[in-house]
């Protein structure tokens, strides 16, 4: 079922700065995390790349039908470190999604593993596809 795509080389995308009206609560750069969204019969899974974010600094908020994900990247440098080559900046991740009504809000599950957030949004029973048997005499 789950198959691995092989033989491809990673293309560098870099961090994407947030464009548009994102309200900032802290100074510093704001990044849009890369995301995969896939839907099965049972629910919607979101995979969000958030390297450098500790579970304690991650915030997932669901209000009305807007899901907001914010993550603070802890500064990587110690006080006595001097920069030689800086390719990535640290700051905050921010992304919002509109969630359909059919999600069972009480069973939403979130896990942060190796800098990737796994967010599972199960569909409510009523929203699952159901096969209807057609009887014939």
């Amino acid at each position: 079922m789950a198959k691995q795509e092989e033989g491809r080389e990673i293309q560098l995308k870099g961090k994407q700065n947030v464009t548009g009206a994102a309200e900032q609560t802290r100074p510093g750069p704001l990044f849009t995390p890369m995301v995969d969204i896939c839907e099965t019969e049972n629910g919607i899974t979101l995979l969000v790349d958030m390297p450098g974010v500790k579970p304690a600094d991650l915030n997932i908020d669901l209000r009305e039908n807007i899901l907001t994900i914010t993550g603070e990247i802890s500064p990587f440098e110690g006080p006595d470190e001097q920069d030689l080559l800086i390719e990535y900046e640290v700051g905050q991740y921010f992304r919002q999604f509109t969630i359909p009504e059919l999600i069972d809000r009480n069973r939403i599950d979130a896990q942060l593993k190796e800098g990737v957030l796994w967010l599972v949004l199960p569909k409510a029973e009523a929203a699952k596809p159901r096969k209807i048997n057609i009887k014939s005499d």
């Binding site: 079922m1 789950a2 293309q11 890369m34 995301v35 899974t45 001097q82 920069d83 390719e87 190796e114």
Partner: protein, 150 residues
């Protein structure tokens, strides 16, 4: 794979890129943007993004590698170079319907040239929260030494 295996930055040599970089910094200063004094802010354009810093005792390399496990990662050293190679695996569920697919998967190779000699036997690498951190202790000759003035 070889073609993407860059060996930047080149310390001590003034390249055309460095000239351009200086010019950009100069212009940034005029227009009041990002005037931080950095040795280089130029990337190699190769995945993963790497930050290199130093203390008196060691060089520190950090790379953003979300979702990469230690088993899929290989860190090697030759001469003054540290190379990071590996594969980022993202399993694809072909029965599911994808609304967004922005995360990249595939193989990667990156080399970082350090500006000084180091002790290759005491290099320490760890992977936490999607960040690879490589601590490279400097060789005695590469450490700063205070010279007494009589």
């Amino acid at each position: 794979m070889i073609s993407r295996y860059w060996n930047l930055p080149v310390y001590g040599l003034r390249t055309h890129f460095e000239e351009l970089d200086r010019m950009k910094r100069h212009l940034d200063q005029i227009f009041g943007q990002g005037s931080e004094a950095r040795m280089s802010s130029r990337g190699a354009g190769v995945y993963p993004l790497v930050n290199l810093t130093e203390t008196k005792e060691a060089y520190l390399i950090r790379a953003e590698l979300p979702g990469v496990t230690p088993e899929d990662l290989d860190v090697q050293t030759t001469g003054r170079n540290i190379s990071i190679t590996g594969e980022r695996k993202i399993p694809v569920d072909h029965t599911a319907k994808y609304h967004r697919r922005e995360r990249e998967s595939g193989r990667f190779a990156r080399a970082v040239a350090l500006p000084g000699d180091f002790d290759r036997d005491r290099i320490d690498a760890s992977l936490k929260d999607g960040i690879l951190r490589i601590m490279v202790p400097k060789a005695e000759e590469a450490k700063p030494k205070q010279i007494k003035i009589k």
